[in-house]
Symmetry: C2
Subunit: 490 residues, 2 copies
């Protein structure tokens, strides 16, 4: 266990908060509910962005940028949407400050009050669909496949770094289609992109499913989601893809002339993932020694630490390190050689272990004389001594192994934490243990609400691969034909 | 001249506005002063970002992210800074909307009034230096070399797309150093990075210099800048790098224990470029036929357009095009094959010409039978017929030529538009003609103000390479020892 570091068993929530700060990922700022993402944390986010962006481009999307501010009246146009966001939005009312009369500082200038208040975007459907009206005249203008990387603001009363912050970073895709079918295909395609990203890059297994009406995005007809299970047994919604039907097209009067020469409303989707994924990444893999990063998202994949005495040994080790770094780089492996004198090797071991660097190579002068180096894996904390000859191929292979191992470990955890539950009594016991509970539900919002009230558990999703199966709702006893997944969630 | 398109000579300002919209770069949004950056425009901005980001990383900087909102009291801490920005800032006063009593819509909820107003960042010195206080204890923590890619808001009364918008995108570097000397070196180094980017990527020659005290950034001791000259003879400030001294360290109490074991205030710099560069790019190269893009920033460097009759010819042309695309891509050239049937070749020629694609290749079935293709250059609108054999090498070379040609053309324009002016009478005549006027100035803010009042010309910069030279101020006749550059500016 890392020194002075609380364990997960002691206090999971405190463990998370401390880890985020001590691994240099982020910290709370002076602005209520807003975080500072530090360089190391931001580098992980940039790797996430790059991988996702590449996949968006590959699937035919283009990036664009829409305004930060949304006029209040736009916001009001889609009834469910405004209902969902009006209670948690930052409102801009003035465009100037002036000196207070008593000289004690500044105040909003009453002469610079906005005629119409502006909302800091909590999501951009309204401003984007207002824009799309000008872009779409005929079926030839469709589909429109835009994505935006942006900051958004939702005023949260209880915030936690990455998981729930007033301002967060995300991407939001907004697409416009000729037909319902095409929009549904897009919605599902982007869910697959997110699931692929979660599994291949984050090494995080996810359930793919759709939300119950209660849990849908405000303004959507269907919300698809990927749900992950954190180490403490709580679920985390890691990404959503919404089929919006014609709701926003109707609210913003976006019609197109179809191939059949008829004026029709456009079909819409939107989909997003956010810096919340950083929280998911941390809580999927990290341990009592600190952060654990999958190689595919690690800013530093390999750290090399020298041990030597005297100038001669130092020169020899530096030379070997330089050669090794160059070889690893030609394989596209990101490597850092930390030969700072001000810090001892032991201090460095702790530092990079805590920061989750997947592989540590120790270049000790005495080992090197025998052509050997020590390799330490962060994922399982094992060490071995290997010949430096042919090392880079082994490192490359090892990074792949670590990536797969982390995924498998997380998958095994999820599988062990997923149970079928068939009675209410059992549910009340099992929900306290955490994990995914696969249960029959009668399909009514009333039952869902009741279960949430009593147990704080919500329906995370109806899994896409749920089998048809006769059963009875765990709460009401009414008939049900498939199981849904309940859990307490972040 | 492109059909229905206003010429530069007719109305430069209208030409600019129309070009931005018709080339699909951006459009005004429903939000006063905020623009929508369309996919084609955003793709150019992304190429700019990539090139700059690579250079920031190479020079040792790291990206991070700081909050969008700044508490009013932070904003007040540096006197000159707040003076510079308080009059043009968006103020958040509430965190919730509620339904109006008369049911006509929403209003800020008086029960959700913020205790302290938040300012949407116009720039981030204050929040960043408040954060740095926690990061810096000793000289070992220095330097801190952070950059942020972000949106900022400055409430502008008269806006123009890219050039002056209420919200804009930019990067802001914020560095912290042990010594004055180190901070000054950083300030100048980043100016060089900007100048290199402007010249090598944008093909835009820039003057490097520093600002007169009147034109400095609010809170800086020295502001270095790159200044470019637009085709209409007006100057445009294309990037700034500020030496902030210890102003922000003092305002936010950021001290460090020096190597000599003394508590000292930290030295600061900040530097930024914004989507304003898009305006500079347009006004440096474009012509009456539309946008002209330097190959190093063109999202599509080469467009291929087929001409064929009947299925057999079409198949043959498609096959050649496919081969050519593959070859160009292996050279890292971005190529688009537009074989849409719904549009005629002539329409496509106009489309890509207007969008500034550097090279157009026409694959005509009849030409191809003789092993020939037609190449059109966007920069000088010339065409030639070339053998398809060995074409990709020629295209690669041609892209380089176009890049250099655009730079040389812009440089020649600037040189022809730069004059030494030695009398006030001459100044009054010459300033009407536009361009850079190199003049003696007595060094006083009063003279600078007067000249601005009378002629709208400002001191763009004191060039770094200005020679020592005895002279007399054009306005006051007082002695001066070097020339500064005056111009009217965007």
């Amino acid at each position: 266990m890392a020194k002075d570091f609380v364990t997960r068993a002691d206090n999971y929530s405190e463990w998370y908060n401390e880890l985020v700060v001590r691994a240099d990922l982020a910290e709370n700022s002076a602005v209520r509910g807003c975080m500072v993402i530090k360089p190391y944390g931001y580098a992980i986010w940039e790797k996430m962005q790059k991988a996702l962006d590449d996949m968006f481009i590959e699937t035919g999307h283009q990036n664009a940028y829409f305004p930060l501010f949304i006029p209040k009246s736009y916001f009001e146009k889609e009834a469910e949407h405004v209902e969902g966001f009006a209670k948690e939005c930052a409102v801009v009312t003035h465009h100037r400050l002036r000196a207070k009369a008593d000289g004690t500082g500044l105040e909003p200038d009453p002469d610079a009050k906005l005629e119409e208040e502006l909302i800091v975007r909590p999501t951009s459907e309204t401003i984007i669909w207002d824009t799309y009206r000008g872009w779409i005249k005929s079926y030839r203008d469709l589909p429109i496949l835009c994505n935006q990387w942006a900051n958004v603001v939702r005023w949260e009363m209880r915030t936690r770094m990455f998981l729930r912050t007033t301002e967060f970073l995300w991407q939001e895709g907004h697409t416009a289609h000729e037909t319902l079918e095409e929009a549904v295909i897009e919605t599902k395609k982007m869910l697959e992109v997110y699931a692929y990203f979660a599994e291949k890059f984050m090494a995080m297994p996810v359930l793919k499913g759709y939300k119950s009406p209660n849990e849908r995005f405000a303004g959507a007809l269907d919300t698809y989601c990927i749900e992950a299970l954190m180490q403490d047994g709580k679920a985390l919604q890691a990404g959503t893809s919404h089929f919006l039907g014609q709701n926003f097209a109707k609210a913003f009067d976006v019609k197109f002339l179809s191939k059949e020469n008829k004026l029709e409303y456009v079909w819409a989707t939107s989909w997003g993932v956010s810096t919340r994924l950083m929280g998911a990444l941390i809580m999927t893999h990290s341990d009592d020694e600190g952060l654990v990063l999958p190689p595919n998202l690690a800013p530093i994949q390999v750290v090399i630490i020298p041990i030597s005495k005297g100038e001669e040994q130092k020169a020899m080790v530096d030379k070997e390190a330089e050669k090794l770094c160059a070889e690893l780089k030609t394989k596209g492996i990101s490597v850092k050689y930390d030969n700072r004198d001000a810090y001892k090797p032991g201090w460095k071991f702790n530092e990079y272990e805590f920061k989750g660097v997947p592989i540590r190579i120790t270049l000790g002068a005495r080992d090197l004389e025998q052509g050997l180096v020590e390799i330490a894996r962060r994922d399982n904390l094992t060490k071995e001594t290997l010949p430096i000859e042919g090392l880079t191929d082994k490192i490359e292979k090892l990074l792949e192994d670590i990536q797969v191992n982390l995924y498998n470990k997380a998958l095994a955890f999820r599988e062990n934490s997923t149970r079928e539950v068939d009675t209410w009594e059992e549910f009340l016991v099992e929900i306290e243990k955490g994990g995914f509970l696969s249960c029959h539900w009668d399909g009514t919002p009333e039952t869902e609400e009741k279960i949430k009230e009593i147990t704080k558990a919500t329906i995370r999703c109806v899994p896409l691969n749920a089998k048809e199966e006769e059963g009875k709702c765990i709460f009401s006893g009414q008939p049900s034909n498939k199981r849904v997944v309940f859990a307490r969630a972040y």
